[in-house]
Amino acid sequence: MTYEGVWVYAIADHADGDVFLPAGVAGTLVRAMTAGGLTVLASNVDLAEFGEAALRRNLANLAWLEEVARAHHDVVHAAARLFPVLPARFATVYHGDASMVAAFAERGDQLRAALARVGGRMEWGVKVYAVPKQRGAEPVAARPAAPGAGMAYLKRRQSEISAKRESSRTAVASAREVHVGLSGHAARTRLYPPQAPALSGTKEPMLLNAAYLLDAGGAARFASVVADAAAAHPDLRLDLTGPWPPYSFAGQEA
């Protein structure tokens, strides 16, 4: 196997060479290298698997993508718990150390500024789902006498449809309210499209899929704000995930 490629995980201003991190993509060893006064976490990869043409092919293979994505995430996540990092975008690959060092050295100031902005903070994810209303007891008296059955059915359908729309509208408004409330406790926020039920593993529609960048030590308070928001909105279910490395905010300008 030839290792002519360099895969980048994250940047840090941590100068200590002693980092103990999990294995990187394809089981490679993660190294801490110095570039432009910054530390770059990278590992050597085989261009037969991680070169341009190979990447195009492999990224379309969901099984490969999952394995590499998880390995990449494990390294960035472990590093982010040890020292402030700026996660690099997935699939940032160089032809050798010299080229990688040059690319980072060139942008040293910009990277240090970004590190100061985001590094040391972790992000938390909040997903909000609509909780379907318990079907209340249908008023039995409304049961139509046989002659008007068709008309009554239509009327019932009409009121069901408008009730459904109304509750969906209310839930969306509640989800937005939750987001606005949580944003007040975060340094930055980022919205993602809600995930499909197949992925989220729930039948309930996802109304909000957001990331919140929190200052160090802000997690406990944020979790209690999330719990309070859930208590205040019985029509919603809130899922909190984290801490995540500040992925969603590393590429954002100040």
Partner: protein, 137 residues
């Protein structure tokens, strides 16, 4: 692996808050959560190898299937994040327009249903008459 001493669970372990049940699970992070964070986010430093992740057709199609069913979301009207006023300046105008459009959709549907109801009422009365007529014969 490093065990952090941060009091919270590892990324991806979801804590649920809500009316249903307060479930808290440990486990590996949801793949969709990881992918939506690492694929198009993060620090962009031009690498020697330039792969525009959004250009990879198969990947895009698969992720669309897995990550976000936008069409479904639009159908139930939860696509507000696309034009959230927090994210873009003229979004609130679009949001208002959409509200208005939704209102008029609702009114149109009401009209249609009312029409159906009265047709049905007329039909039922006619039907009853027809039955009576048949019985009389």
């Amino acid at each position: 692996m490093i065990e952090g001493n941060i009091a919270a669970a590892g990324a991806g372990a979801a804590q649920s808050y809500g009316t249903a049940s307060v479930a808290s699970g440990r486990g590996s992070a949801n793949l969709g959560d990881i992918l939506e964070r690492i694929l198009d986010k993060g620090l962009v430093i031009a690498g020697d190898i330039q792969v525009n992740l959004l250009d990879i057709e198969l990947l895009t199609i698969k992720l669309r299937l897995v990550i976000a069913s936008l069409d479904t979301a639009r159908e139930v009207g939860i696509n507000w994040w696309e034009n959230d006023p927090w994210l873009s300046a003229d979004a609130s105008r679009r949001a208002e327009e959409r509200e208005l459009a939704a209102e008029s959709d609702l009114r149109a549907e009401n009209r249609r249903l009312r029409g159906l109801v009265s047709e049905l009422e007329a039909g039922e009365n006619g039907g009853n008459r027809a039955t009576r007529e048949r019985r009389e014969r």
